[in-house]
Amino acid sequence: MSYYDIDSILTDAEKIPCTFQVDIPDLGYLDNTPTQPLKAGTKVSLPLWLAEMLAIANTGDIEGKSFVTFDLPAALGNDVVQALKADPRAVPLRDQSAHFYGLATHMMELSEEQELAAVLRKTFVARAAEVALHARKVGGVGHKGKGEEGSNLGIGGAGEEFLRGLDEWERKLFRKAHDGAKAGKEWMEGVKKH
């Protein structure tokens, strides 16, 4: 998670639902009404890079109130969690958020949701195994001698559906596993020749 990491920056742009706790005259534009003051209690979707700091910043208030409170985004909502509990492999995470795990990790840092953390951990483990399985199949590592390009042409219906639903992190994992298997195979072939 470096400062220059493109995926980390894009993850920070994911929006989460926030509620303002203070009246703020100049911030009406956040609620699409630039001419009107932003009233306490207004619900606005804010990107993580903004929401995070507003939620933890000290307002100087005696009660320790912060500028905004936030809820879990829909991507981590109850529906999704129930679906993940049922079968992690059947949920296209990408449809929830292209940076699903990045978003989830961020939210875990901001709030303590023990149960959600456990579900996410199980989800990743189950899906990672599936990703590895597909990565070995694609590009004809096991069969089909000359699957040179390593294109996605080789995979059938269900697999394709699963791979389409991978979030950005899982995609990286897939690419690494796939390239690794391919390089290993190429090396083995080279050994035989000489």
């Binding site: 400062y3 220059y4 990491d5 493109i6 995926d7 920056i9 894009l10 920070d12 742009a13 203070v22 009246d23 703020i24 005259p25 100049d26 911030l27 534009y29 956040l30 699409n32 990107p47 890079w49 903004l50 700091m53 507003l54 910043a57 307002t59 100087g60 208030d61 500028f67």
Partner: protein, 215 residues
């Protein structure tokens, strides 16, 4: 609902795409300009917000202003990160290109052929996909690399890491490359001619696309 940071985000999405490309897409002159303008506007807002306080602003006494200032500050910080990340992605790519031996002129040709310019970079210097600053960076990094390589005359640092199968190879000339000197005398590389040469002598020319290895 357009808001602060949206343009910066667009820039980072460009960077994301750039990472997966082998060539360098056109520099987003307009977008970069728009993001820096946004930072300047935000800075002006902050200055005018703080003006009445004469340098003695107390955040706990005026929460609304404190929050506005925080939002402005965070937006500027966000834009800065987007700008830096965008440019760094590109300079990383430029360094890679220097190491692999392509030159700026090649890049310009690629861009003209591709015709995929978003219109933004066209005004920035003869159809190159680099900004003038980037061209400068490219040149100077190239000089730096050449100076570094100069310390070892018998090792080619940018040469291929693959051990050669044969010392001599057949090559066909794709573009006129003029005369080169080899251990076995000079050869004149004219287009479409074919030669049996020492691989080490022509490796650079193959990498630059002047020659094609046969067989």
């Amino acid at each position: 609902m357009p808001m602060y940071g949206d343009l910066g985000n667009k820039l980072v999405q460009h960077a994301k795409r750039t990472q997966n490309l082998t060539h360098l897409p056109p520099y987003q002159t307009e977008l970069v300009r728009a993001v820096t303008r946004e930072v300047r506007d935000l800075d002006k807002d902050v200055a005018s917000l703080l003006e009445p306080f004469q340098g003695s602003f107390d955040p706990s006494a005026d929460q609304a202003t404190a929050c506005t200032l925080l939002v402005n500050h965070l937006s500027m910080r966000r834009n800065k990160r987007c700008l830096l990340a965008y440019h760094r992605t590109r300079t990383d790519k430029l360094e890679e290109l220097v190491w692999s031996g392509s030159d700026v002129l090649d890049l310009a040709g690629q861009q003209a052929g591709g015709g995929n310019g978003a219109g933004a970079a066209v005004d920035s210097g003869g159809g190159s996909s680099l900004s003038p600053q980037e061209e400068d960076y490219f040149r100077q990094y190239g000089d730096l690399l050449a100076a570094y390589k100069g310390q070892w005359t018998d090792v080619d640092l940018t040469g291929s890491l693959e051990p050669p199968r044969d010392l001599f190879i057949d090559v066909r000339v794709l573009k006129d490359a003029g005369e080169i000197q080899t251990e076995y005398g000079a050869i004149n590389l004219t287009k479409n001619s074919q030669f049996y040469v020492r691989q080490g002598d022509v490796e650079r020319l193959i990498a630059q696309g002047y020659l094609q290895k046969l067989g």
